[in-house]
Symmetry: C2
């Protein structure tokens, strides 16, 4: 079975890692959000790509959800002494990723090609693809004005109240041929438990993506469990946007084209409501605490999609 | 007494540090070679400026002559794993200097302004000035072709045989107003024991520099002691260019405008020959092994220039 997974950062990377444990590497493509990429210190920083790469390479920092395990911070300390900007935390080893990516981009390589080289160097087996080689930038509209995503997410720690989103550059952005090819060749498309607005949203808004999802076997894992996000501002955003803070609200966002929605045990009571949207609801343990949990959930997700794949 | 010192890397930085120990900070300006600056990993790297800054800040690595003491190498290790270029050794803390300099240059600051900010952050008292805000690049002409300076110096470890030099960009380059002002206001101008071709050469070739030196009290310390360079390729270059490998050959290069030349004890026999060039020769212990040696030599150098200053 060939799978394509759409992923943002932490939660997405965990399920992608689960899929990587249960599928041959050549049968898995992970398509990653680049809407929260940004320029920092003159470098192209791609937080979601990095989290997915590091997680699949087994070098991610499990405590933070970003960066590398066993990281050192001497660069950042020295930068602070020099009066440079240190609100975005870059470890010494992590910095090499940004510098090498920037170096390759500067030679004219695409983000797709650069990601392929970095993954090869890190020993990542599955194909990891940025959603686009075009620049899309997620802007968070808040009661304090429109903020760049990292300004909202890292610098202001998601404090401002969200009123909406804008995706700068999306009019001209296209998914890459590699992304479209992976979707066209997938037996199942997995939407990882990532933020529906700012992690999967930028991918889903690219032209041609939802049309393809509507024609294929799709299964999404809820990023909301018991009315809370496992990590990140998804629940806070749902509330601030006046939506129900529950897995059901996420199912509604995807209902136009989604076949199967995986709810956590804690949300078993929502199964009927999800079914009422015309989406098959499946119950599983979706909270991935251990490496094994990731593989277990991946198996259940692929099984949940099996009836559609067979059809 | 106000002093301006012309300096390259290690030897220049040591005497500059000596001068900083014996003069009030406001009475010392160090004018530094930028001919061996280069672009690396997308960053403006200024090896001589960094060595002077780090030495004056007391954080230079005494073992290597470049970089910072107590440095760590996690960035470089990770970069190597990613297949990036690692022939130029950048430590984790050193990297912050290059990144912050590049960040400031990208905002439109000049190299002079950027250097001032970095020096302030590092607690460097004396004024440190790049020789120019214009781009001059030292190219080493060798039996293996014309090489960029760092390619010759670091990557090929000075192995190719030197036939000459070219200073790309020097036609359009000007010393900064700050450099000219420091020279015009100096009671004495000190030429540190730096390589006459590739460290002091690029400074001396800038328009207006030698004219100013000819009108003022000048004192140079020989970078050649007993026919050998204390550090670097100065002796090897003299030989390959068909010049005498001795302090006398250096004195000849400066004889057109130099007043006083400081020879090491080991070269006391050259005193008459130097005098024959119309340059006053003074003998001193010029090899700076300790921090105190630097101050001692600085005092002797200033004393050697005193008769001219008084005149």
């Amino acid at each position: 079975m060939k799978a394509a997974a759409l992923a943002g950062g932490v939660g997405g990377a965990k399920l992608a890692h689960g899929l990587a444990q249960v599928l041959p590497a050549s049968n898995l493509t992970v398509i990653v959000n680049t809407g929260d990429d940004f320029e920092h210190l003159g470098l192209h920083v791609a937080p979601d790509l990095d989290t997915v790469m590091y997680t699949l390479a087994g070098i991610a920092n499990p405590a933070t959800g970003w960066g590398q395990a066993g990281e050192t911070w001497n660069f950042l300390e020295a930068l602070e002494q020099l009066g440079g900007p240190t609100w975005f935390k870059i470890g010494d080893r992590d910095l090499a990723t940004h510098v090498e990516r920037q170096r390759q981009l500067a030679t004219g390589q695409s983000l797709t090609e650069t990601t392929k080289l970095l993954c090869a160097a890190l020993g990542v087996g599955p194909q990891v693809l940025p959603m686009s080689d075009d620049r899309v930038r997620t802007l968070v509209q808040t009661d304090e004005g429109e903020l760049e995503f990292q300004e909202y997410f890292v610098h202001q720690q998601c404090q401002p109240r969200v009123t909406g989103f804008r995706f700068s550059g999306e009019e001209a952005a296209r998914p890459t041929p590699a992304v479209l090819n992976a979707l066209d060749n997938a037996d199942v498309i997995v939407l990882c438990p990532s933020n529906p607005f700012v992690s999967l949203g930028p991918i889903l808004r690219l032209p041609g993506i939802c049309e393809r999802l509507a024609r294929r076997a799709t299964v999404a894992v809820s990023p909301i469990v018991g009315g809370q996000a496992i990590k990140g501002p998804a629940a806070k955003m749902l509330g601030e946007l006046g939506l129900e803070v529950s897995a059901l609200a996420v199912a509604r966002l995807y209902a136009g084209w989604l076949q199967t929605f995986v709810l956590d045990q804690a949300d078993a009571d929502l199964q009927g409501d999800v079914a009422g949207l015309g989406v098959r609801a499946v119950i599983a343990d979706t909270v991935m605490r251990t490496i094994d949990d990731r593989a277990t959930l991946a198996r259940e997700v692929l099984e949940a999609a099996a009836p559609q794949v067979a059809a």
